[in-house]
Amino acid sequence: MSSQAPAPTTPHPSPARAEDEPEATPFKLSAWLSTQGIVIFTIALVLFAVVFVDGFASLPNLTDVFNRAAPIGIVAAGMTFVVISGNYLDLSVVAQVATAAVVLIAVTNAVGLLPAILLAIAIALVYGLVNGVAVGVFKANAVIVTLSTTFIGLGLLRWLTGGSIYFGDSDGPIRTFGTTRIGPLPLSMVLFVVVTILLSLVFTRTNFGFMVRAYGSNREATRLAGVNTPAVVIGAFTMSALGAMLGGFVLAAFSNTAVSSMSDGYDFRALAAIIVGGTSVFGGRGSVMRTLLGVVFVSVLTNIMVLTGLGFGFQQMAIGLLIVLAVSVDALARKTRSS
């Protein structure tokens, strides 16, 4: 088809009255919270931690925060595509992260690094395809599908590994990756930022990212615009799978060990980062960059709780509360936007 727009022909006088007044959206708290809020909150939280929390602003502590944030952040960046496509979340990242970590260390030990990476990529593509086909082609519910693939994947992993822990070579490439620094920053953190920027470009600049957003906004209208919608869903789950794989690599490199239980809770922590960042669970709205902010927020918050001696149970509760809060704000914002 020709890409030419038809020559603009207007018999009516061009009405430009509504442009007289610039953007002066009335202040709606929930809408503001869900779009701008995260920036302010993140800055405020970091300032708070710097000033009031003992030991936060030390290099060893910040390195630790970065090291923990990086794998979650990469997982969340990939999963953002699934959320924006209107398919809620990809629970199977838990299985995928652990599988990638175990494959990276165990297969590198047995055969070598390259085969390990290739195998992990193949596994990620299978995850993306299975989740994507079930959800995009057969229209199954994403939560149920990915809960099931988590079971399949984790079950398989535990069955094959017997739950054993794998240790990397103490001076192998994985160890090197895990300990390399660029300036004060761990390599994993740099990787996280690079991956986020890359995925963000995919989301905002490419045809694929655009179709994911359109699909999340209105599936039927997107289908009727001639978009191959099953492929879009498969693509979104594949992005999530590749993110989970990289996250698994980073996680394995960090400790130079891998075990099938190492990614427990990654599903919800990634989701927390995405939603707190302001990406809508209703689909169609959000961005990868927001997820980056969400990751920083959730990581700093967790670190504050650790430093102030609040136990794991409390942290878990706090993340739960945070999700409920963010989802409510999201729902409220959606309502006020339409009236």
Binding site: R205, F210, A214, A221, R223
Partner: protein
């Protein structure tokens, strides 16, 4: 209705002092920088039918939503039966007898007709849904407006027009004192429109107050006692209808003399070879349809509500599954079978669906995103979208369809109904399609924009496109089409030339009063 609410009986008593049933005083409604309604006062007394007209985006729907307590006015107050309404208290407005039938359908597709009619006031007994009462009330409401439909049918299986009637029945079931109808006839054919107008007249005679929005001026003159004209959110006229003629009213709506040579028929259009063709098409509600559209030809599909026009079109394009038959498209001498819907789009067919909000638009995306979607391949280099080209492309199309306000970076959901329809048209126009199928292309657009869309459709045909139009608006169908196929029971029951055919001829065929076997 609801178990303890006494409900307000249709008032037949207060005839001496006509207290307005509903009244808006100095209503102002702003959305961000847009002044949607600007200091408008309006009132209706029992038994009055009050028309509300104005161009797309004039503020009609917004004003009505304020009166019904759906929107909170920025300034001004709403009185119901003389009592001030808490701003934005939808429930109170409902209980006080204000019933609004929205411009856009608001039924729950998965629920049945009966469930939908009683939605929000489902009768219960000790917390358990009282199915029998629910059905009784639903049946009574449907009878009141003279419509027969299976109470247990899910809404998703009904035609858009039938949904419109269910929507009205739902408003009636609440026993309103004032009924607000926002473009209720936009999806109806003349026969159903007449039926609805007669029903409304009868209801008004029982002292119901009616507020009636329409872009079809003849309806306003046929039905209304008084009329309010809005332009750019401001009140232009509030007066007895007898003081105006259709022409003078349009002039007040538009604010200037509108040059509309209504008869725009194409003179001796040239038809080429068959470009779009269906043979033995079968699908649910589609029975063995053969249909050809030639290059340069505008074919219209006419018929009553539920006749199966939309179903035929969707089956033809593969948008809904077919059970038999095939569709082919011939482009540049190459004949291709249309399997699934995507192959239809790839073959160069543009399809403007009937339901803009569910099928035509992504409401949370901007105008420019919506326009870019079907044109994405030509607006990207490799995988990368070209933002600047998209903006230019969208801007010029928005101008072509005269989008108001012309802000392409605004979300589509924030535009008035008619302006949303313009975006759906703009989306596909940008492809300069060789084959274009339009289902209710001017649904909800104002007189001026309608003439403009007609001109664009004719222009496409003049350039050699094959055009298939479904329209319930019979004058529109007659004016646009070179050939009219009349549909009844999912079958084509007659083919009429566009020239020399009148409404009566189409209606007779559509209603089956005169059997012409052409298929």
């Amino acid at each position: 209705m609801s178990d303890k609410e006494p409900g307000v009986p249709p008032s037949k008593t207060s005839s001496e002092t006509p207290v307005p049933v509903v009244e808006g005083r100095g209503i102002v409604k702003r959305f961000g920088g847009t002044q949607a309604v600007d200091d408008v006062s309006i009132s209706v007394v029992p038994g009055e039918v009050h028309g509300l007209v104005g161009e797309n985006g004039a503020g009609k729907s917004t004003l009505m939503r304020v009166l019904a307590g759906v929107l909170t006015p920025t300034e001004g107050e709403v009185l119901i039966g003389g009592q001030p309404l808490d701003p934005g208290d939808t429930r109170a407005a409902l209980d006080a007898g204000v019933s609004l039938v929205h411009q856009e359908l608001s039924l729950v597709p998965e629920m049945t007709v009966a469930e939908n009619i009683l939605l929000g006031s489902t009768p219960t007994r000790a917390g358990v849904i009282d199915g029998r009462t629910q059905r009784r009330i639903a049946r009574a409401a449907l009878e009141e407006i003279g419509v027969t439909v299976d109470l247990d049918e899910p809404i998703s299986r009904l035609s858009v027009a039938m949904r419109q009637f269910v929507e009205i029945a739902r408003a009636i079931a609440r026993q309103p004192r004032v009924l607000i109808l926002d473009e209720p006839t936009a999806t109806l054919t003349p026969a159903e429109t007449d039926h609805l107008l007669a029903t409304l007249q009868r209801l008004a005679d029982t002292d119901l107050a009616i507020l009636y929005i329409s872009h079809r001026i003849p309806e306003i003159f046929a039905l209304c006692d008084r009329v309010t004209v809005l332009r750019d959110g401001k009140l232009v006229i509030a007066d007895e209808i007898g003081n105006y003629t259709p022409d003078s009213m349009v002039k007040h709506m538009v604010g200037r003399e509108l040059q509309l040579d209504m008869e725009h028929r194409r003179v001796e259009p040239e038809h080429g070879e068959v470009m779009l063709s269906a043979r033995g098409l079968k699908a649910p509600d589609v029975n063995d349809v053969d249909l050809d559209v030639r290059a340069g030809e505008i074919v219209g599909l006419g018929g009553l509500v539920g006749a199966g026009r939309t179903e035929i079109v969707r089956a033809m394009l593969g948008a809904d599954p077919r059970t038999g038959g095939e569709t082919t498209v011939t482009l540049d001498g190459r004949r291709r079978r249309i399997g699934g819907y995507r192959s239809a789009v790839h073959a160069g067919i543009a399809y403007i669906p009937e339901e803009r909000r569910t099928d035509g638009l992504s409401l949370t995306m901007t105008v420019s995103d919506n326009i870019a979607l079907p044109n994405r391949s030509s607006l990207s280099k490799g995988f990368v979208l070209q933002r600047r080209r998209i903006a230019e492309f969208a801007r010029s199309l928005a101008e072509t369809v005269n989008l108001r306000p012309p802000e392409i970076e605004r979300e589509v959901g924030q535009f008035s109904g008619g302006n949303q329809q313009k975006v759906v048209i703009a989306k596909w126009l940008g492809r300069r399609p060789d084959v274009i199928v339009l289902d209710e292309p001017t649904r909800g657009v104002d007189v001026g924009a309608k003439a403009e869309i007609h001109r664009l459709i004719r222009e496409l045909a003049d350039d050699g496109a094959a055009v298939l139009v479904v329209s319930s608006d019979l004058p529109e169908l007659l004016e646009l089409s070179d050939t009219i196929h009349v549909v009844r029971d999912g079958r084509i029951v007659g083919v009429l030339p566009g020239v020399g055919t009148d409404e009566a001829a189409v209606m007779a065929l559509a209603a089956g009063q005169q059997e012409v076997d052409a298929a």
